[in-house]
């Protein structure tokens, strides 16, 4: 898959890169970071022009993110019907409104594996679109121009940079999953302890 996409990028340039990042932002598992770093290296080799390519890719990826936000937004009714009134849903919505900006920003370039779920949650929890757009734009600018810039800097050695960045992203994703698991375990054990305490009190009375 990666090889096929790279061949298309060197043949058709910025438009195909834009299509790749747009489809990737909609949830299709394309190796986005790999292609962005490669595009930076191709710019150094004068295969692509860095400013036009960067702007097209940025526009397309922000469009893709906005579309996946819209998917979450319009699926809200269906999801609410399923979870309506549940405390877990309300908790999730409140915590997303508190941490949403940071998670949108960080998942654009650092934990890219969570970008699509975060877009969907942002839309479903009615996170303000203007704010979503701003955080998305900042994060994606770092992804396109920062990661692309690294590709540009390292030129033909871009594969080593890309491999390192992809593994860092995967490692961080694993750590986030572990942290969420840890927090949920603590919460569950606290709830369990509270239940036991309440049961003891009622039996004593």
């Amino acid at each position: 898959m990666s090889d096929f996409l790279l061949t298309q990028v060197i043949n058709y340039g910025a438009p195909i890169l834009g299509i790749i990042v747009l489809i990737g932002a909609l949830g299709v598992p394309f190796p986005g970071t790999f292609i962005v770093v490669a595009a930076g290296a191709f710019s150094r080799q004068d295969i692509l022009t860095w400013h036009t390519t960067g702007l097209i890719a940025l526009t397309c990826v922000v469009l893709g993110d906005s579309l996946s936000y819209a998917m979450g937004f319009y699926a809200r009714e269906r999801i609410l019907r399923r979870f309506q009134g549940s405390t877990q849903w309300k908790q999730a919505e409140t915590s997303f409104n508190r941490w949403g900006g940071t998670s949108i920003f960080l998942t654009r370039f650092l934990i890219t594996g969570l970008a699509v779920p975060v877009n969907l949650i942002a839309g479903t929890s009615k996170f303000p679109f203007k704010l979503f757009f701003l955080y998305d734009l900042f994060g994606e600018t770092i992804w396109i121009f920062g990661y692309g810039g690294l590709g540009y800097l390292f030129g033909t050695q871009w594969e080593a940079v890309s491999e390192l960045l992809s593994t860092i992203s995967g490692l961080l994703l694993g750590l986030v999953i572990l942290a969420v698991g840890g927090v949920l375990t603590i919460r569950l054990s606290r709830t369990g302890a509270a239940h036991i305490r309440r049961a003891r009190q009622s039996s004593n009375q």
Partner: protein
């Protein structure tokens, strides 16, 4: 959701996290070890981008046009070395050319392109031995 089901889900999540951390942790150390030897190549003066010389960087996804641009080698020379007509093959990757023209010889196109570029590269120029710089003549002021 029952508490036992919640607990199972959380343990499942932790297990997935451990698998991710283990898998990507190992890959990270390998990638970091490989990356340590790399340094950004120096930027040449404007309009003087030097040709790449390391043929081991040629990959199967590259096209003949891309390789000839990167290694400053005429594309016709590469097509001639392969015995493949340029027309209609400009957008095909080396892998596609191999599959189409040499299906019974895996890796043939890649190796032939590497060999053709090596042959086309000018031999390294010998560095002349260091010569002593004659001391500057000091002339007494009039």
């Amino acid at each position: 959701m029952t508490p036992s089901r919640q607990r199972t889900l959380v343990w499942g999540l932790i297990l997935i996290g451990v698998v991710f951390v283990g898998f990507f942790g190992l890959r990270f150390f390998r990638a970091f070890r490989d990356f340590r030897g790399h340094h950004p190549p120096p930027f040449p003066p404007e309009d003087a981008q030097p040709a790449e010389t390391d043929v081991e960087l040629i990959r199967d996804w590259m096209t003949i046009g891309f390789v000839s641009h990167t290694y400053r080698t005429p594309p016709n020379l590469l097509y001639k070395a392969l015995g493949v007509p340029p027309r209609g093959n400009e957008e095909k990757s080396l892998q596609q050319l191999n599959d189409e023209f040499f299906p019974k010889q895996p890796g043939y196109v890649l190796e032939t392109v590497k060999a053709a570029i090596r042959e086309n590269q000018s031999p390294p120029t010998a560095v002349s031995p260091a010569t002593a710089i004659p001391p500057a003549k000091v002339t007494a002021p009039p």
